[in-house]
Structure formats: C-alpha cells, structure tokens
C-alpha cells in the first residue's frame, strides 16, 4: 500500500496573492482508508525561516474531528476559502525569510500524522541581499 499523502491545490493554480484577496482551493487525502482518520486540521499560516528561531502564526484554522461528530471522507476533497490579511507579506531576505502556506495535518487512528503543505506568496516584495551598513 502506498504511503498516505495529502495533496493541496489552489484554485486557478495561483501562487501569488495580494493582501485581502481570497485564497481558495481544495485538499485530497490519498492512500488513507475511510474510518481510519481521527481528525484533520487545515491551517493557513506564516512562518519564518533563516538564522533566527522559527516564528509562526496561524491566520485561519479549521479542525474536523470524528470524535466530535464531523464527517471525514478521504474520498471527497476538502474545500477551503480564506480572505488573506494585509500582513506580513512574503519576504525573501538575507537572514530572514517569511513564508505563507496552507498546511493540512491528518491524525490517523493508528500510526504517525500525515502532513501536507503548499507555499504561496502574499504580496510582491522584492528579494534582498545584505548591503554594507
């Protein structure tokens, strides 16, 4: 049996969004049997990369839990639609990068969590490199 997988797709295959735009798409759970999922979490979040410790903040969070009576069918894709905030914008700096992504985390009844993530850009900030101070 194949390894469980989460596939995320954005509507219109968009990768660059402006502040306040609607980010929408769907996610599919592959190679996961029906009834084997305890919960699914969808997050739209930003995180930092680079030399500093990672910071993260969640803009939108949804959780479906079978124990709470939510219907989780791995054969049907899940939809999401979120209005993006004004900040922080995606940024590619010298020692700091800010990334936006949609992350789906699946909690199976047995075994390890399955995580799928798709990065997108918020805003059109130009990449920079360090300059002499």
């Amino acid at each position: 049996m194949n390894e469980p997988l989460v596939v995320i797709r954005f509507d219109g295959n968009g990768r660059v969004y402006g502040p306040g735009e609607i980010l929408s798409g769907e996610y599919r759970l592959e190679s996961i049997a029906f009834g084997q999922i305890r919960a699914v979490e969808l997050s739209v979040l930003w995180y930092t990369e680079g030399k500093g410790d990672e910071d993260m903040a969640v803009h939108e969070f949804q959780r479906l839990a079978a124990d709470d009576g939510d219907w989780i069918d791995p054969n049907r894709p899940g939809r999401f639609s979120v209005a993006l905030p004004n900040s922080p914008l995606s940024y590619d700096g010298a020692i700091l990068k800010i990334r936006w992504c949609v992350r789906v985390r699946v909690f199976p009844r047995k075994g390890k969590q399955v995580v799928g993530q798709r990065v997108f850009a918020l805003g059109t900030v130009q990449p920079v490199e360090s300059v002499a101070s």
Binding site: K51, D53, D55, F61, Y91
Partner: protein
Amino acid sequence: MSRSFRIYAKKRGDRRTGSGALAGLGEAIFFGLFFLGGCAGLIAILATLILPQWRVNNEFVETTCVVRAKELGKSQGENGWVYRPEITIDYLVDGRQRRATTYDICHALPSDCKAQQAALERFEVGSQYRCWYDPLELGRVALVRGYSGWTWLLLVIPISFMLIGGGGFVYRAWHWGKSAEHRAATGTGPIKLRANHGNGSGQAALPTIPPSGNMSNSPGTMLRFRLPVSRSATLGLLVLIVVCVLWNLVAVFFVVDVVNRFMEGRPNWVETAVVVPLALVGLLLIYAAFRQLLIATGIGPTLVEISDHPLYPDGKYEVFLSQAGRLRLHSIELLLVGTEEVRYRQGTDTRTESRCVHRTSLFRRDGFEIYGGTPFEVRCPLEVPSGIMHSFKSESNAVSWSLVVDGRVAGWPDYRRSFPVVIYPNGTERADYE
C-alpha cells in the same frame, strides 16, 4: 579538513534531539510534583501553625493560672541555638487544679534570645494570669494567644509552589496532544494571560507591524512629526558606563592589593598575572565609555522631522534635518536604512544577529563647518522605494527601518544617530490603523 573543527558546539534548531512528547510529559510531571509539594506544605502549615492558633483564639476555654516557675529553654537548632520561654503554671479546670509547662500553642523556637527573654520577663513567679486550655485535651494550655505575623508570611512559599505548579500543569495539559498549528491558533490557552497588543483602533488589522504611535506623537516645528532618536543608543551608553564603573571598582581593589604587595617586597605573581588583564580591560572600558560619552555630549543634538508617518512603499515625503553644535564636518549624510534582526537559541545561549539589507542616501554634504548658535538645517525629499518589505516584528525576527544620520567630524569620533520609522504594507488603507 576544509573547515575548522569545533570540539564543543551547542545544538540548535533541527539538530536538537529528543522527543517532544516525552518532554511534555516530563514537564507535566515536574509541574504536578511542584503543585503537590505546595499542597503538602500548605497542609503542614495549616495543621501545625494556623489551625492550633485558631483553636486557641476560638475554641480554647479561658481560666486563671498562677506562675510557679519560669526559665528560658534552650536547644540546638539547625542553624545554632534556639530559645523558648518555659513557664510552669497551676491552672483550674472545672474546679480541679492542673499543672503544665507552657508558653504558646505553636511551640515556636526562634533564635532571637533577647526577644524570648523579654517575653519571659512579662511573667512574674507567684502572680496570676489568664490562660486558655483545650477542652478536648485538658493538659494542653497556652499563656499567650493571637496570630504570629510570620505564620502568614510562611504561607507565601507553598502558595507560590501551588500557583507555579498548578499553572504549569494546566498549561501543559491544555496543550497536550495539540499540533503546533492548533496551539498557535488557540494562542491564549485556558486562561487569557496574553494582553491585547493591539492599540484598539485597528492595529489588529495589521498584525506583526510594530506600533507607530511613538514616532508620531511628537509634533515637529518645521514638518508634521519629530522623530525620536533610537533608545538603543542611549541605553547602550548607560549600560557601558555602569559596566565600566563596576568593573573598574573591582579592578582598583585588586590593583591596590597587588601594588601594596610589591611595595612590601612580597609580590604575588599569580595574582599579578590575573590582575594585569583585568586592569587592561578596565582601561579599555574607560576609553570606550569616554568616547561614547564624548559623541553623545560633544556633538550637538540632531533633530529629524518628517512630513508624514507611517510611511508606505512608493510614498513621497519630506524630511528636515537639523544638526547643532560647533563642528568641522568632513561629511554629514542622511540615509534610509533597513535592517533584519534575528534572535536564536543555541543550547542555553541566546544570540542575536542583524544585517543591513537596504541603504539609500537621501542627502549628503561634504567639508563644511557648523558654528555654535546656528545649527545646520536642510530639507530633502524621501521617496520610499516600491516593492520593499514593510516593518515587521515577531518574537525572534524583525525587519526594522530608520532614518540614520552619519557624521564624520574632524578631530572627533564619527557618530551615527538613528531615528526609527515604520513602513506599512503596500496598498494598505490608512483607515486600517486609525
């Protein structure tokens, strides 16, 4: 080897090993034990100190007694001798006489001999006094009652244990099994401990943008706002002066001792070997502090005003610069500078690093003099480039912007003064933050 080999390096980031789940369990057990320890301490203090005192004050029966003998009892405690008045009394219970040696109900053993002696002196042998006996245990009697102040202070210890342990356990239990995203989304946990960082007027619409209130609450004389100078420079100077004074106080003490020994003909070479670098560092600190103080006080005040704030990419503004003092300048330059600042933990150390990522010269003038009483003043345009990153601040990372004045002064140390500004995201309406 193509790179240096570090024998010891603290782990950071992904190289940290260990299980997060086990760490969480360990934390929960630790806080749980803290809480239980606090509970045990609280019960012990209630049972041995507070409850007996309460019973004396509320349930013991009053009667009269005659003092037959008294002495200051003395015994060896953990930290030396401890003392307690021991007064032998005859007292009446239901018409029958009983004898007991007592003072208070708690049998406290303080180490203050004089205070205990003074308490003993209040009772005269052969005199009659009031006393209180336990109706459930007639042989239990006390000559003094009330509550001792230090008993309530003792309660602080177990209560603080319970608060720390209980709070930590609840926090850990609340977050048990939650993903990082779930914890970040719920944020405050079971108890709202986080203050509202928004300014209540729309700041929440622009999360992670530093507040701009400080930069726009001071009106300018030539333009709309006068920008405050960066506090970090002033703070740095204060810290440097304090460290310099403290270091040199210690160094002087040791240097005097070393010099005395040399003069007495019995030098201590080991001490000398340690003190010499200590003294050299002290001299360097004096030089550095003096230099910074000279820059701060010898160079006159620098004022920067701006036509509007906060700033936006593509925005056009006017900046006013005023430099006072009696200076002969090689050059003075006004720049817009963008800096990335990051903080990271490496083992138990916390390190910071910064990198300049943008530097635009707005104005420069070379080779001129400023005369005392007539500050140098200039206005210049500021065009914020399009596509630049807005100001950003999170727990460990930041992008910050400032207007920087760089001065190169003849016969004086170069100086740099920073005036922080906030750049908002491109396309954000002003109403979002007003």
